[in-house]
């Protein structure tokens, strides 16, 4: 077991390293002028810029820069943003932004799981009846229609119908509702879809029939056997959800003016803010690898079958 975990961690580290080095090197291929905000560029001349770059160590060999970055990383220094938030320490940025996104992410994850499971149960309970159909239509719409479109309509119309604020205000609880729900729409559909599918699969298994033969009522069988078994494979996805918590949603954060991490990467790449890009990419890579890893661990934790094959 320990050996397995260790080798998994090692492999994950290699993945992170490759992703990071690749992105780091790619970023060094960009033109140097991108290191300056537009207005600064206009006002300075070539020599000044080169001086600045040289002072910042941005003209050194990429490998040297990588080495320096890693050195500072281990000292807990993530560097400062170059163009998007000139001179602002990236750690400050993340410290400001992650809590906002994480708060939404967490709220939406809880909403997603609770409502998703509720919807999934509803669909199984009323299989092939109205509940199932309504749920199917919901899932279909959420999954098939580009999210941008319905998120936009929700912001414009739903906020009007319910008199909810158009954008997010930290001190107004009502302004949390729409973004949280929007964030969780996808995962509600996701959890409902898979819970339903898993439950229907489980329903056809022999042990379910055996439980029925034992004389348990259908409801009891659903509760005691089918539901529990169907939820177990769902747990794999929870850590992946965790990823979204921190990385945030570009569309929703933009629409509701949430000062989170969602748009950070895009704007950093567009503004060619190398320092910021590399930190965020590193963060994402670590998060996703950790997410997958945690997912496997979590399942091993909740599923007695897996403990067995590995514990032997």
């Amino acid at each position: 077991m320990r050996k397995y975990i260790l080798s998994r961690i090692l492999r994950s580290l290699i993945t992170v390293a490759i992703v990071f080095v690749a992105v780091f090197m790619l970023l060094r291929l960009m033109p140097l002028s991108g290191y300056f905000p537009q207005e600064i560029l206009k006002e300075t001349d070539e020599a000044t810029r080169m001086t600045y770059l040289r002072n910042q160590g941005l003209l050194d060999h990429p490998l040297l820069q990588l080495w320096r970055f890693l050195q500072r990383l281990f000292q807990g220094d993530l560097g400062r943003s170059l163009t998007v938030y000139p001179k602002v320490p990236i750690s400050t940025l993340l410290k400001e932004k992650i809590p906002v996104t994480a708060a939404f992410g967490f709220a939406s994850m809880v909403t997603g799981i609770v409502l998703g499971i509720a919807l999934g149960l509803l669909m199984v309970r009323y299989k092939d009846k109205w509940g199932d159909r309504a749920g199917t239509v919901y899932i279909l719409l959420v999954r098939a229609i580009p999210s941008l479109i319905y998120l936009f309509f929700i912001q414009v119309w739903v906020s009007k119908w319910f008199h909810l604020p158009l954008v997010f205000y930290k001190n107004r609880p009502s302004s949390w509702i729409l973004p949280t729900i929007c964030l969780s729409l996808g995962s509600i559909a996701y959890y409902a879809l898979w819970l339903r599918r898993f439950m229907v699969d489980e329903e056809n298994r022999d042990y379910v029939k055996f439980a029925q033969v034992k004389g348990l009522s259908k409801k009891e069988v659903l509760r005691r056997h089918v539901f529990k078994n169907a939820v177990i494979p769902l747990t794999v996805y929870i850590p992946t959800d965790l990823l979204f918590i921190i990385s945030g949603s570009l569309i929703i954060e933009t629409l509701y003016a949430i000062p989170g991490t969602g748009g950070l990467l895009t704007s950093a790449i567009k503004a060619q803010d190398n320092n910021l890009v590399q930190v965020i990419v590193l963060m994402y890579a670590v998060l996703s690898v950790v997410g997958v890893f945690l997912g496997d661990l979590l399942v091993a934790f909740v599923d007695p079958r897996i403990k067995l094959t590995e514990g032997e």
Partner: protein
């Protein structure tokens, strides 16, 4: 399973409870006979006297920003915030007349090259909690402001004018820069820094007297103080101690203006609070100013309707849809813009077809005459697009000679103002002439061969060295700009003809000056420049062949000579006349194509107009702003405007 409906019910209840109050539309009192200029029945005094005003002003910003460092920031929002937080030496009053601010009085020598300011005593810096730091604003703080911007490492924004105007600053700056580059080795950086007091023409004569020595006569120096943030004071020791952190957020800076930044939430909200120690506290009418981020322009009108912001600019399309609604009579036309929109032509680009043609005046004129400026302006103001047109580089109604004559009414410029550039026939003629000069009979462009144009990262394009001429227009991905570019494309291709010109639009989302304009990765691009202060030199000297704003890299020695002649003129009138000639030369030769002003149509506001300083060149201030609980109507505005114009004329006369 029964819990689910209950949960849903609960959520619906939360929704409905969360309902918040929305804005009342403007009062519908539009009895004026002339629908174009409704006037309120009340007199201006009535309107002003019967109001209870709010203590909070809510506004918005749309792009994220990083730093409050007023010396280096390029962001308009930050500049407007800081303008309220750091006072300058002087400020305009509501009529635009300069009145004392941190300087209680000032004087200058005969030729306006030495200006002396006497600083107000007892003004202290406060921190982000509004607490007194015990540090007072002295003459040295103004000297240190120049010291700060004189160091290239501090990356001052828009430094050129000030650097060239203040005696010795140019040499001081470049010495430091040479040292940094390693070009100058005969002294250390410390030695160079130590020479500041001897070299640079800014001195603290005593604790409360500061004197600026200028390289040339500057009758516009006060307007430069208003517009340029580089002449603001700084508590140098504090700033140096903060290092890179200086002004990255509200906690790492000091304030001496009417407000301090009490709350800062990146990309989300900023709150300004009234500075309790402010010297002019009685004129601070609004206690707090709340800025919130609105990412997309379209929602801001909705926000205004819902009472989330106190003023909003109304785009052309919004203007049309608001007609006939209860909001219609709150739409107030924007008054003036000193900023002009241009098409820049790339004289040194990699596209051989365009490069061959752009050197030809007929081709440039063909472009100039193919634009239907009214149609373009209709995108901004569908009702009265005429007021947005502008053919000159400098704005009208901002530079006057001592006789009160508008600079743009000097004959050469007046002729440009009166020219109708929408002339497709003429455009086609010019183009045909250009073609006959530059192409052989088969339509091959002489002297060049087919090639691949490398405008990366914008893109690569293949040109065949044959007609039609390939023109690459590079713009940003801003929705309004895209629409404008598409309109222009259709105009140009229609006027000149698709057989002669192939106008390609590239909307480059990573558009920055550094990726497109500076490396000349375009044939045509759209930009704006504004008249910085009450003198044409501000723009025109920077547009010379080696000027900073000559981004298209044209070479026009005639223009350079005209500018030099203007700069050497002995009277202000002559100076203006010479400058007008220079400006006309550039426009008539279509080296650049100014076509409209940057006016954005209309706005709606809850504020009483004409109560805060008239900041023509600098950033607006909240001093004196009166916030109502409902939008201002156009009728009220017109009434107040009439009264204001009278008062202003009087005030200007008195000045």
């Amino acid at each position: 399973m029964k819990r689910l409906p209950a949960l849903l019910l609960a959520m619906v209840m939360v929704f409905s409870l969360a309902a918040c109050q929305s804005q009342k539309p403007p009062a519908s009192n539009t009895p004026g006979n002339d629908p174009n200029k409704p006037v309120s029945e009340q007199s201006a005094d009535d309107i002003l006297s019967t109001k209870e005003y709010l203590k909070t002003y809510k506004t918005s910003f749309s792009s994220s920003y990083a730093s409050f460092n007023y010396f280096s920031t390029a962001y308009a929002t930050v500049r407007s915030i800081v303008a309220n937080c750091i006072d300058g030496l002087v400020e305009p009053d509501i009529y635009g007349v300069y009145i004392p601010s941190l300087a209680e009085k000032w004087e200058h020598n005969e030729d306006q090259t030495v200006w002396t300011f006497y600083i107000r005593k007892g003004v202290n810096w406060v921190d982000h909690t509004g607490a007194d730091t015990g540090l007072s604003v002295t003459a040295q703080d103004f000297v240190d402001g120049i010291r700060y911007i004189g160091d290239p490492l501090n990356g001052a924004y828009s430094l050129r004018v000030v650097r060239n105007l203040i005696e010795g600053l140019y040499d001081y700056y470049w010495d430091l820069d040479d040292i940094d580059c390693g070009d100058k080795t005969d002294m250390t950086r410390e030695q160079a820094l130590a020479r500041f007091n001897d070299m640079v023409g800014v001195k603290a004569l005593d604790e409360y007297t500061v004197q600026y020595t200028l390289t040339s006569s500057a009758p516009y120096f006060l307007s430069l103080i208003e517009s340029s943030m580089l002449l603001l004071p700084v508590e140098y020791d504090y700033a140096v101690a903060q290092g890179e952190d200086f002004a990255v957020d509200n906690e790492h800076m000091l304030y001496c203006g009417g407000y301090y930044i009490s709350h800062f939430e990146r990309d989300k909200a900023i709150t300004l609070s009234k500075n309790p120690l402010y010297w002019d506290l009685e004129h601070i009418t609004v206690d707090t100013v709340e800025y919130q981020m609105i990412p997309e322009g379209t929602t801001s009108l909705e926000m205004f309707k819902r009472g989330e912001v106190d003023s909003v600019s109304v785009e052309a399309e919004e203007y049309l849809t608001l007609q006939g609604t209860e909001w219609a009579n709150g739409l107030i036309p924007t008054e003036r813009s000193l900023s002009t929109n241009y098409l820049w032509l790339d004289f040194a680009g990699a596209n051989p077809e365009f490069n061959t043609f752009v050197q030809n005046e007929n081709f440039r004129k063909a472009l100039q005459y193919s634009l239907d400026r009214v149609a373009i302006a209709s995108l901004r103001d569908p009702v009265n697009p005429q007021r947005i047109l502008r053919g000159t580089i400098n704005a009208e109604d901002c530079i006057y000679d001592s006789n009160g004559m508008d600079y743009t009414d000097y004959p050469v410029l007046k002729a440009i103002k009166e020219t109708d550039y929408n002339n497709p026939k003429l455009a086609r003629q010019y183009m045909e002439t250009a073609v006959s000069e530059l192409c052989d009979e088969e339509g091959n462009i002489k002297g060049i061969s087919a090639t691949q144009v490398d405008y990366l990262p914008v893109g690569t394009f293949s040109v065949d060295a044959k007609l039609p001429v390939t023109v690459i227009y590079v713009g940003t991905d801003d929705e309004n700009e895209i629409v404008m570019a598409q309109l222009m494309k259709s105009m140009v291709e229609e006027a000149i003809g698709k057989d002669l010109i192939d106008f390609q639009i590239v909307c480059f989302s990573g558009w920055t000056y550094g990726t497109v304009a500076d490396p000349l990765n375009y044939d045509i691009y759209f930009d704006s420049l504004s008249t910085g202060y009450a003198d044409p030199s501000g723009l025109l000297t920077r547009m010379t062949t080696d000027g900073a704003e000559n981004v298209g890299c044209y070479t026009v020695p005639e223009y350079d000579e005209l500018v030099d002649r203007a700069m050497e003129a002995d009277t202000f009138e002559k100076r203006l006349a010479y400058f007008a000639e220079a400006e006309a030369y550039l426009c008539n030769g279509a080296y650049v194509i100014p076509f409209i002003s940057s006016l954005r149509g209309y706005y709606m506001t809850n504020c009483m107009p004409f109560t805060s300083p008239l900041t023509l060149y600098g950033n607006s201030k909240f001093k004196g702003t009166l916030v109502m609980d409902r939008p201002l109507t156009l009728a009220e505005y017109n009434t107040l405007d009439a009264a204001y114009e009278l008062a202003r004329a009087e005030a200007l006369k008195a000045d």
